[in-house]
């Protein structure tokens, strides 16, 4: 068994779970950072660049923002502990995350029906790349949520609390990335 998954290491001050998720988030920051850098390159060098609010559905984007923030809020409630069990909060959060992906799918469907495919323009290529990769992260977080719930009885409450802590950090990161995408792609 990997040591320090529950108790904190004296030298680092954190558990190995927390350390691992921070390192993972650092690599994720570099991944999305590279994509935002590509976005800056393409946008600034483009002769013409459409306004996202003219091409995309801003309303759907804002609704999805509320859904995603609510989902993360529930994970954080599970982390701090309240009257309901953490497992229930994680399931509620997962439902909202699935709703986010479903809304995103409907949005893609509408855009493709209007002929707005990734090959249509560089703007749309960046839009589908950024939002698609972000949606994959939402799906991954949902799977991790459900895994933490289903495995809670086997590993015990202390280990589950560590996993919920890691999940809360992950979902906060996913939210920050989405807010940057919203500002850059939808609202500008």
């Amino acid at each position: 068994m990997i040591p320090y998954t529950v108790e904190r290491r004296a030298d680092t001050g954190v558990t190995n779970v927390t350390m691992g998720v921070w390192l993972f988030l650092a690599s994720e920051a570099m991944l999305f950072g590279a994509l935002f850098s590509a976005y800056a390159l393409l946008r600034v060098s483009a002769v013409a660049w459409p306004h996202g609010r003219d091409v995309l559905s801003v309303d759907t984007g804002l609704i999805n923002t509320v859904v995603l923030l609510a989902s993360t809020f529930l994970v954080w409630r599970a982390r701090v502990g309240d009257s309901r069990s953490p497992a229930r909060r994680l399931v509620e959060s997962s439902v909202l995350a699935v709703l986010f992906v479903a809304l995103k799918g409907r949005e893609y469907e509408g855009e493709l029906a209007r002929g707005l495919a990734p090959a249509t323009s560089t703007f749309l290529a960046m839009y589908f790349t950024l939002t698609g990769l972000h949606a994959l992260h939402v799906m991954g977080g949902t799977i991790a949520n459900l895994w933490a719930v289903l495995d809670a009885r086997r590993v015990g409450s202390a280990m589950t609390a560590g996993r919920v802590h890691a999940l809360s950090l992950y979902w906060a990161f996913v939210d920050v990335v989405w807010l940057v995408i919203l500002a850059l792609v939808y609202l500008s």
Binding site: T12, G13, A26, A29, G33, S37, Y39, A40, V44
Partner: protein, 78 residues
Amino acid sequence: MVIGATTHLLACPICFQVEEGPVTAGVRAAVVVLIGVTVGVLAGFGVFVARFVARSNALRPGCEGAETVEKRPVPLCR
């Protein structure tokens, strides 16, 4: 010769020596964004490492207050 005349020997493969233009501006913006992200991530690592060093020093045998380091995140001695 390479050291003394680098700019004359190496043409930029992005802008092809056109110093002002949309492509050059785009590359500059991309570099600024990537540097910003990289500096942010490295700063996070720096904070982590500094914290480890402080805690490691506080845990050394003979360090006053070492036994309470778990309760106090600030370094107790260096």
